[in-house]
Symmetry: C2
DNA sequence: TGTAGCATGTAAGCCGTTACATGATTGA
DNA sequence: TCAATCATGTAACGGCTTACATGCTACA
């Protein structure tokens, strides 16, 4: 059953299990939406086709169950829930998986890294676009946090949202400073 | 030549071109080391085999050249440099590539997200391991920044290092607060 | 003498994406 | 009636990793 060498499933599997662990039965489509509204802030939310394949695999392993809820309607609708074995596997991962550092792919930072010789105006525009992205993400995340706070069921996700707000808040501030530093000639602002 | 739909190469190609753009001729092995010492802070530094395949591809496209510097020695040694076409392609990417947001894979945050029902002591230990990782990364990055500052050739990378120090500094602080919040019962600290 | 580092590759395979394909339902 | 959304998949492919394989060189 375990796919990877360390005896745990690929993390994408735990993304599905994690979302289902809050108790609501979900279709593949809904899983995608839930992922977009939460997981995407600290994990790439998987594509639809990825989700369906993951669900099949997890069901075959007995970690997830599937129920056809199409009813009379023509429209197909299969909801998925987490099984006891699924909960056990998720908890095992949360508690005992070997630590893995975050992996960041930051095109904007890397483009700045290569910016010598490039048109400063274009570099600046790129950074501004990134700052806007960060601002919009922060707004989304603040909304998510507001929804989570207060509901005891969502205590853990709320902690992550709070963490994310600090994290991305710092990113927005840092990128603002980087843009300012670009404008001023030499002196990179001190204060770390 | 362009591999992806938007007319640009995959970002890994620009990682190689970016490192070579500072002017030093490098072997595949050395490219790996340079990547570990700089790019890895904001991009997954590619594996050796990836680097060699990338170099082959870039050479075939005329963006990189290769010179056998084995000399008399038995030991194979091929250095690579960036061509004029390579510089043009890199600058084109820095200036005109469509904006892409950062992609973060943050296992620690995601495990906290799923932490309801898990042993709090184990969750805490996991977060502490993450905090230590962040601290050690910060130390490495501070060293890198110190090396870069002062050399005009490395102005752009120095800006990124400064940015990274702010960014990861915030991460370390945020994780410290998350750990503290776990200890205190309910009240998630305010101040965003 | 032997271990760590230098140096280069091949093969297999997973993970995940995009593109393609299909059709029902809801609301403007 | 038309578009957006709901809902589910298949096929092909690209990118990147791990594991495997090889051998030299410097140093302790």
């Amino acid at each position: 059953m375990p796919a990877t060498a360390d005896g745990f499933l690929p993390t994408s599997s735990y993304v599905i299990l994690g979302l289902l662990s809050f108790g609501t039965r979900l279709t593949g489509y809904e899983l995608r939406q839930w992922a977009e509204g939460s997981v995407r802030f600290f994990w790439a939310s998987p594509s639809m086709s990825q989700i369906y394949r993951e669900l099949e695999k997890l069901e075959a392993a007995g970690l997830v169950d599937a129920v056809d809820e199409s009813g009379d309607a023509e429209r197909a609708r299969t909801t998925h829930g987490i099984t006891v074995a699924g909960r056990d596997e998720l908890r095992r991962w949360v508690e005992d998986a070997p630590y893995e550092p975050p992996m960041i792919r930051h095109p904007a930072a890397f483009r700045l890294f290569c910016a010598h010789g490039a048109d400063p105006a274009k570099v600046r525009a790129m950074l501004e676009e990134h700052r806007d992205w960060a601002a919009s993400l922060l707004a989304d995340l603040a909304e998510v946090e507001a929804d989570l706070l207060g509901d005891e069921r969502f205590e853990a996700p709320a902690r992550v949202a709070t963490w994310g707000l600090r994290f991305f808040g710092a990113e927005r501030r840092a990128i603002g400073q980087a843009i300012a530093d670009l404008a001023d000639p030499d002196p990179p602002t001190p204060e770390v």
